[in-house]
Every structure is written in C-alpha cells, then in structure tokens.
Amino acid sequence: MSRKIVIPFGPQHPVLPEPIHLDLVLEDETVVDVIPSIGYIHRGLETLVAKREFTEYVYIAERTCGICSFIHGLTYCQGVEQIMDLEVPPRAHYLRTIWSEYSRLHSHLLWLGLFADAMGFENLFMNSWRLREFVLDILEETTGGRVIQGSCKIGGVRKDISNEKLASMAADLKGFEAELSDLSDVFLHDDSVKSRLVDVGKLTRTDAYDLGAMGPVARGSGVGIDLRKTGYAAYRDLRFEPVTETAGDSYARCAVRVRELFGSIDLIRQAIEKIPEGDIEVKVKGNPDGEYFSRSEQPRGELVHYLKANGSKHLVRSRIRTPTLTNIPPLVKMLQGCELADVPVIVLSIDPCIGCTER
C-alpha cells in the first residue's frame, strides 16, 4: 500500500542554517520527487550595477556571500581587469591566492561542522568550528575582517602582508595541520560517521557531468574539474592536482573536502615560499568596455561572474552564477529514492549556500 504525500521542508528548519524550501513527494518513507523553490533570500543585488560605479560594486560583489566573500570579490575584480586589460602585479596575485585558500579552509571547516551537526555529531561540530577560528584570526589579522574581508580591489589588493607575517603564517600552519589531521581521522574513519554517509545520496559520474555538478559534488563522483587549473591568480605557478573520489555518495563528497583542506594548506605553503616582492596594485584609468565571463573555483565549485560594460562607469550587466545554483539539479537527482531521514544530510552534502545562489 503506498500513498503519495507531500512534505514541505523548510524554509525554517532546525538543520538548515539558511532558508531553502523543498517539497518532498513521499511514498511511505521514500522520497520519489523533489521540487525545490528558492527566493527567500532574493535581494536582486545584480540590479545595483546601475546604481554603483564599477569600482564601488566590489563591495556589493563581496557581500553576495559571507562565506566565500573574498572569492566573489576576486572574481569580480578579475573580470573587470580582463575587460580593461589591466596587468595586476604578481605579488597581488599571490596575496589573492593565499587569501583564497584561507577562505577555502574556513569554508570547508565551516561546512564540516554543519555537516557533523546534521549527522547529530555535536562534538565534531564544535571541534571543526574551534579550528576554523584559527583561520578567521589569520584572515582578520591580514585583511581586517573576519568573514567579509574586503581586501580585493580592481587592479590589485588593498592590503599587503609583511614578509615576517607570511613567515609566521607558514610556521603556524604546522600545528594547524596536526590538529586538522586528528579531526579528519574522525570524518574519514569513524564508524558512526560512515554509517550515516556511505551510500547515501548517490550520484553517478555521468549524472554528475551531465547535470552540471561542480566542485566537490562533481569531484566526489569522479569528475575532476577544478577551475583553479585554468590558472587564474597565481595558480598557474603552483603545483596541485584536483582531489577526486569515485564513490559519488555523501561520504565521498565529505572525503573530497577533507582532502582539499590539506591541499589548500599545501598551496598556501607554496605561495608563501614563492611570493615575489613588488607593488600590490596598479592604477585604474578609464572605464571598462567589453565583456568577460570571469570564472574561479569557489569552495563549493565554479563561480561565474559575467560582466558586460559599455565604456561608462556603470556596468550594463553583472550576472553571478554561483556553484549552488548549478548543484541544484544534481541535488534533485540525489534526493530521488532516498529515505526521508537522510534528506538533511544529503541537502547539506552539496554545501548549499543559499545566500549567494539567490543573490
């Protein structure tokens, strides 16, 4: 005997930090269909390009999302620089890379904590967030902001990091890495974590590629796309390989993020080692004219800022395609056929960032 019922999930739900609404169509305990609807956080900030000059829009772009704020700023600035053919000094590129990777550390740790909370593993949640404070402290010491860093500007960066500070940052990473490996052991090898994650929310490689999954969702299914490989900022000079897992379940996505944490630490070390001396910004002259799809790798996947300018000081169009938006179709696929009790874990396993998705 099966009867279809519809359960509304969200927008306010104990496990969701942000409002997203899902209508779950259930047959007994099994989810057969999902209808996502968003719009609770829609602000329409893209329209503000008509009000703010292109140099000021950086502040808006940064505030698209409070978690990966720096990378939003970077992607926007990079887009304008590409349109205007500005040559950013190498030191600025390296500083941007270092901050990007610290943002990734902070975002992944944040997600690991929330994910542990969704599994009901409070202790792990607390420990992840305790470690995260280390990253936030560094971000604040170097940029002045804990979550909204605001250190990117068109033509370079607004703040420099002294070489002594860089050296001490590199030294501090050691202790951080040790604590992180304690934490990652629990995520990767603990039985209770595994029992909640393994084989939950499967996504095959073909599905992941066809549905346009990005970031850890794609890499957890074996699709090794990592936009850092396009070589923006200083990534072209650094050695790294995209982290991939093949299982395609929530555990694989978790493992990808855990391993990326170590990848980020390694990238920061390399960047600190190689950082050149020199200026940190160039002067911006004139107004942009042209268009560019500025792409970068956010902690959650590929971020696209489409910028179109017509030579005036206001852009014609800024369009922000965030990774969560492209991960919604895979999420719908993952949820089909799962148990109701697993829904929170699966929703969180794509690392939804609704704030930037709805803009």
Partner: protein, 154 residues
C-alpha cells in the same frame, strides 16, 4: 543580574542575509565564544524560544515567514536584529526586493551593528536583550508595578 539565573533560548532566522552574520551567530555557539555559558541554547523551534535573532533584511518573500515565527514565540519575547542588513537594509537597501530593516515588520529591541557583526557584538547584543526580556517578564507578571521603558517600544 537576576536574568543570568535563567536560561533563555534563542531562535535564529536568516531573513535575507549574505550568511556573514549567520555564521557569526553560529560562531557564538561554538567553543571560542560559547554563549551557552550564559545558559543560552540555540533552538530550531519557535515555541521553545525567548529571543528571536534575525539576520539580514526583510524581503517580500520572508515577510510572512518572519511574522509567523514571531507570532509563534511565546510572550515575553525579544527581537535582536543582527547586522547592518537587519537594522537598516545596508548596501542592499535599494534593491527592488528588499523592504529594509526588520523593524518594518516586527518590533526590534536590540540593534547590533556590524558588517558582518562580530561575535563579541552579538554577545553584547544578546546579553543586553536578556535585560529587556526580564523587564518584559516582570511587566507581564504584574502589569502595574513592573514599570519598564520597553512599553510601547517600536
């Protein structure tokens, strides 16, 4: 200081914030800032809550949601608006879908500025709100004697 003997529970709703203030509210609950020291517990259920922490500005869609959550919280209750967006709309004030600060919909007792509001400010704000909560409680208990400045606050 009597109010510190009680254990007020908070409910947090993200109205249309960028997540910056949200994660700072959550950061308050974690070991470094640990507002659970004051007996404050984060709950997901409005009917258990005393303090309503809102981040982000009101937009057309979540007007009803916020009103609904506010109505479900039993009296006495206080509202803490965290972050610039929640207090005035901030940089997004002019967007077509943003109505402005939380006080357009529900009465706000404490405004916590900051973009994103720092955990320290949030703790300050919530601790301030506990005083107001206590005043409101007294007021409710004996409406004649418990004079308080919060009466009729917008």
């Amino acid at each position: 200081m009597t109010y510190l003997k009680r254990s007020p529970w908070i409910i947090h709703y993200d109205a249309s914030s960028c997540n910056g203030c949200d994660i700072e509210v959550l950061a308050c609950l974690t070991p470094m800032y640990d507002i659970e020291r004051f007996g404050i517990v984060n709950t997901g259920n409005p009917k258990h809550a005393d303090v309503f922490v809102v981040t982000g500005s009101i937009n057309e869609q979540n007007k009803a949601v916020i009103k609904n959550i506010y109505d479900q919280i039993p009296n006495p209750k206080v509202v803490v608006a965290v972050g610039i967006c929640a207090t005035s709309g901030g940089v997004f004030r002019e967007c077509y879908n943003v109505c402005g600060g939380i006080d357009k919909i529900i009465p706000v007792d404490v405004y916590v500025p900051g973009c994103a509001a720092r955990p320290e400010s949030i703790i300050d704000g919530i601790v301030k709100s506990l005083g107001i909560l206590e005043e409101k409680r007294l007021k409710m208990k004996n409406p004649d004697t418990g004079q308080s400045s919060t009466v009729g606050r917008k």
